[in-house]
Every structure is written in structure tokens, then in C-alpha cells.
């Protein structure tokens, strides 16, 4: 590998790929937002998805846990094709953690309750066990002291860290992050990225849509550059940021570097 600060070595995939997208297509009316997407994500791998607005990054993320349906192609998670609906789909979603740009914490529930809800209702854990786990997770993301508050009483950075804890509480196989820091004030971005970086170090499989180059360089194994519904380029962060091969990526990078 090149000499950039990669704090994490690319781990040898334990047993094959965790997520495999094959020839995935998706339209919104006339708009072809995902065009023949092929993407494999290995266990423990951290993939950063980057690209211009409207390129289909969110749609890709949302397709992986079927918040968005696809028109054709196949998505396989941990060896199983994505179920269409019902119980199996709910079970799959529990295995795929998702963190949203706008946090989406349950507004009528306390922070603690946000983190215990899925454990109790989906994982069928005892309340006490769920509470303990929630408190440990809240501690891990640095918001243990806020457990009894409501989401609206927290800063954006704190809310997003709670959202990460809420997803982790399900013991997901993979975590999806859709621009987790773009709704945050600049001074709060790092506290969230730090939590994510730690998660990557712990070996979590992650797909992260972000424009945070620092994070991509220090935590990602691979950068996927998406534009106009296609994966235009896939490479290491070092390679991508210093010497992208496609014109589209060069153009995009020159814009985000000089904004």
C-alpha cells in the first residue's frame, strides 16, 4: 500500500463477500438512478461511496436494506438474496444497520429507549439486558450522560452518535451510513467521524456515503466513485484522491477540493 495514513490494514475477508450486488437497476420514473451496479463488499471492509449530488449514492445505500426496491438485478447479503417483504425482510433489516443524514431518532422516546426499542421488540431481549447493552453503547459513543433526555434536547453530533448506538444495538452484520455528517455543524463532525473510525478499527463492515476525505483516507479500504447512476471508478483512497483515473472523478475532486 502507499504511504498515506491508513490506520487499518485491509483484512483478509473471513468467508467470502458479505454483500454482493449484481447488475442492479433502479428507476424513478424516467430517471435511471442505478445502472447495472455490480458491487461486492467483503466482511470487515469499509467502503466509502463518493460522488456528485444526484448520482444515486443514497439510493444505493437504501437499496441494500430495501428501503428502496430495485427493478432488476440481485442483492445478496451474507449468502441470502434480499427477501421481498414480511418477516424475513424485517429480520434482514435488523442485520443491516442504517445511519441517516438527518439522524431520525424516535422523537417521542428517550435516548435510552431509542437504543433499547429494537433489542426488545425485534431481538426479543429482556428489558434489563437491553438497558445494560444500550448504556454500554451510549458510553462507547460518548453520550452516556444523556440517556434520559429526548432527542430534541441533544446537539446534532450527539443525536447522530445515539443513532449509531441505536443501529449497533441490533448487532448488525454491516452498517450503512448515508452522509452521516452533512447535517452537522462543523465542530461536531469530528466527534461522529471518530466514532465511525473506531467502529472501522473494530472490524465492522461499513458502507459510508461521505465527502469527508479525511475519513476516507484514514478508515476506508476502498473508494467507490458514483456518478449518474453508475460506478465510475473503484480504487484505494490513496489512489483515488491523488490520481483518479476517470475524467468524471478528476472533475468532481477539483470541485470539492476548491469549494
Amino acid at each position: 500500500m502507499s504511504g498515506v495514513a491508513v490506520t487499518k490494514e485491509i483484512p483478509a475477508p473471513a468467508t467470502g463477500d458479505l454483500v454482493v450486488l449484481s447488475n442492479v437497476n433502479k428507476h424513478f420514473g424516467e430517471l435511471h438512478v442505478l445502472q447495472n451496479i455490480d458491487l461486492r463488499i467483503a466482511r470487515g471492509e469499509v467502503v466509502v461511496v463518493i460522488g456528485p449530488s444526484g448520482g444515486g449514492k443514497s439510493t444505493l445505500c437504501r437499496a441494500i436494506n430495501r428501503l428502496e426496491t430495485i427493478d432488476s438485478g440481485e442483492i445478496v447479503i451474507d449468502g441470502k438474496p434480499l427477501p421481498a417483504e414480511g418477516r424475513e425482510l424485517a429480520a434482514l433489516r435488523a442485520d443491516v444497520g442504517m445511519v441517516f443524514q438527518s439522524f431520525n431518532l424516535f422523537a417521542h422516546k428517550t435516548v435510552l429507549h431509542n437504543v433499547t426499542l429494537g433489542q426488545v421488540k425485534v431481538r426479543k431481549k429482556e428489558k434489563k439486558a437491553a438497558d445494560d447493552r444500550a448504556r454500554r453503547l451510549l458510553d462507547r459513543v460518548g453520550v452516556a450522560s444523556q440517556a434520559e433526555k429526548y432527542p430534541a434536547q441533544l446537539s446534532g453530533g450527539q443525536q447522530q452518535r445515539v443513532a449509531i448506538a441505536r443501529a449497533l444495538a441490533m448487532d448488525p452484520k454491516i452498517m450503512l451510513f448515508d452522509e452521516p455528517t452533512s447535517a452537522l455543524d462543523p465542530e461536531m463532525i469530528n466527534e461522529v467521524l471518530e466514532v465511525m473510525r473506531q467502529l472501522a478499527l473494530d472490524g465492522m463492515t461499513m458502507v459510508v456515503v461521505t465527502h469527508e476525505m479525511g475519513f476516507a483516507r484514514s478508515a476506508a479500504n476502498r473508494v467507490v466513485f458514483m456518478a449518474d447512476g453508475r460506478i465510475v471508478e473503484e480504487t484505494t483512497p490513496a489512489q483515488f484522491f491523488s490520481d483518479p483515473s476517470s475524467e468524471r472523478a478528476k472533475d468532481f475532486l477539483s470541485k470539492i477540493l476548491h469549494h
Partner: protein
């Protein structure tokens, strides 16, 4: 001045009004919630039923609904709702009619509340693996209810006043007694005032209390 009131059991009549209101309120809250759930459900058949129900029932005059419970359900079809004497049968039929009618308004109030819940709440709930009924019960409805306590209070107040229609099928609630008293006593204005006051005593505290609840439970975003 109030001597003529002797011989009339006002409290008993208003007690019937309260009971009619209470049972119908509970019934329409439950049935209205079920209807609202149908209207947002992913199953087309349920959605269709919910929509049809609301659009038909809330456009029929309440008097017609109540009279139908008596003429149609009881006298034609023999539905007695498990009661033996006329008083109880009529009371239960009235509760049924009021519930059927009011629930369409509860449903619509609730549905507007559901629309105020940001879609991100539902997505986050689905993303942790909750199924549709759980998403509705644990995330959407609790927030929807909190945002429509005000409108629901209006529905409840309307219901309280609407119970007077039950007199049409012989339920001895407040308005039925008022009619009797107006016929027998030469005190039209005073009697009307007494009954108006009685209804205000029922509805005003309800409105104030629910207004307070509404502020108390509102969801901060």
C-alpha cells in the same frame, strides 16, 4: 323559580348523556384508529375499505345513522346487541351508531396526525427491523396521537353534543328530557338555558383539559 324542576331527574338524564359519550368515545377511538391504520396500510384492500368507509359514513347525517341502527339493525334484522329490554337495546344501538359515525372523524384527525410524522421516523423504524404493525403502533401512532389531541378534543366535544340525537330512538338522555320538560312547563327559555349550561359543564372542562394535555405531550423535534 326552580320549583318546576321537582319531579324531573336532570342528573339521571345527564348521566345517560355522559355514558353515551363515554362508551361512544372509547369505541370510536378504537375503531377510528383501526380505520386510520387501514388507510395507511400497504394492503390495497384495507386501504380501499378504510377510504370507502370514511367517505360514506361521515357524509350521512347522524340522525339517519342512528335511526338506521334502530329501524334497520334492530327492527328489521333483529340485532339486539345482547340486551333484553328496550332501554338497554336502544342505548347500545345509539352507542353503536355514534361510534360508527364518530370513528370516521377520529380516523381523519388521526390520519392528518400521521401525515405530520416525518417519513424519516418510519424509515428508521423499518431499518431496525420493526414490521409494519410495530412501526405503526410503536412509532407512528404515538406521535400522531400527540399531534392531534387538539382536533380529537373537538371531535369529542362534537360527540358529546351529538349524543342528543339518540333521543330519536328513545334513549332517555338530556335532550329527551328537555323536550318533555318544554312540553310540560311554560319555561322555554329557562329550560333551554339549564340544558345549555349542563352541556357546557360537560364539554368545557374536557376542552380545557385536553388543551393542556395537548401542550404537555407534544413531540419536540
Amino acid at each position: 323559580m326552580f320549583d318546576f324542576l321537582k319531579g324531573y331527574d336532570l342528573l339521571a338524564a345527564f348521566w345517560v348523556t355522559v355514558q353515551l359519550t363515554f362508551y361512544s368515545a372509547v369505541g370510536s377511538l378504537i375503531w377510528g384508529t383501526v380505520l386510520a391504520a387501514m388507510r395507511v396500510s400497504p394492503v390495497p384492500l384495507m386501504r380501499g375499505f378504510g377510504t370507502a368507509y370514511v367517505n360514506v359514513v361521515r357524509n350521512i347525517p347522524l340522525t339517519v345513522v342512528i335511526v338506521f341502527t334502530s329501524l334497520g339493525l334492530f327492527q328489521t334484522l333483529g340485532v339486539t346487541l345482547g340486551a333484553a329490554d328496550f332501554t338497554t337495546i336502544n342505548f347500545r344501538l345509539a352507542v353503536l351508531g355514534l361510534t360508527a359515525y364518530t370513528s370516521s372523524f377520529v380516523c381523519e384527525a388521526l390520519r392528518s396526525g400521521i401525515n405530520t410524522v416525518p417519513v424519516g421516523q418510519t424509515e428508521a423504524a423499518r431499518a431496525i427491523g420493526l414490521n409494519f404493525p410495530q412501526v405503526l403502533r410503536l412509532i407512528v401512532l404515538p406521535q400522531a396521537f400527540r399531534s392531534v389531541v387538539g382536533p380529537l378534543a373537538s371531535v369529542l366535544i362534537a360527540l358529546t353534543k351529538n349524543t342528543t340525537v339518540a333521543a330519536a330512538i328513545g334513549v332517555a338522555e338530556a335532550a329527551a328530557l328537555m323536550r318533555v320538560m318544554i312540553e310540560n312547563e311554560a319555561q322555554l327559555i329557562l329550560i333551554s338555558a339549564i340544558f345549555a349550561f349542563g352541556f357546557i359543564c360537560l364539554t368545557l372542562p374536557t376542552g380545557l383539559f385536553l388543551g393542556w394535555v395537548s401542550k404537555k405531550v407534544s413531540v419536540r423535534r
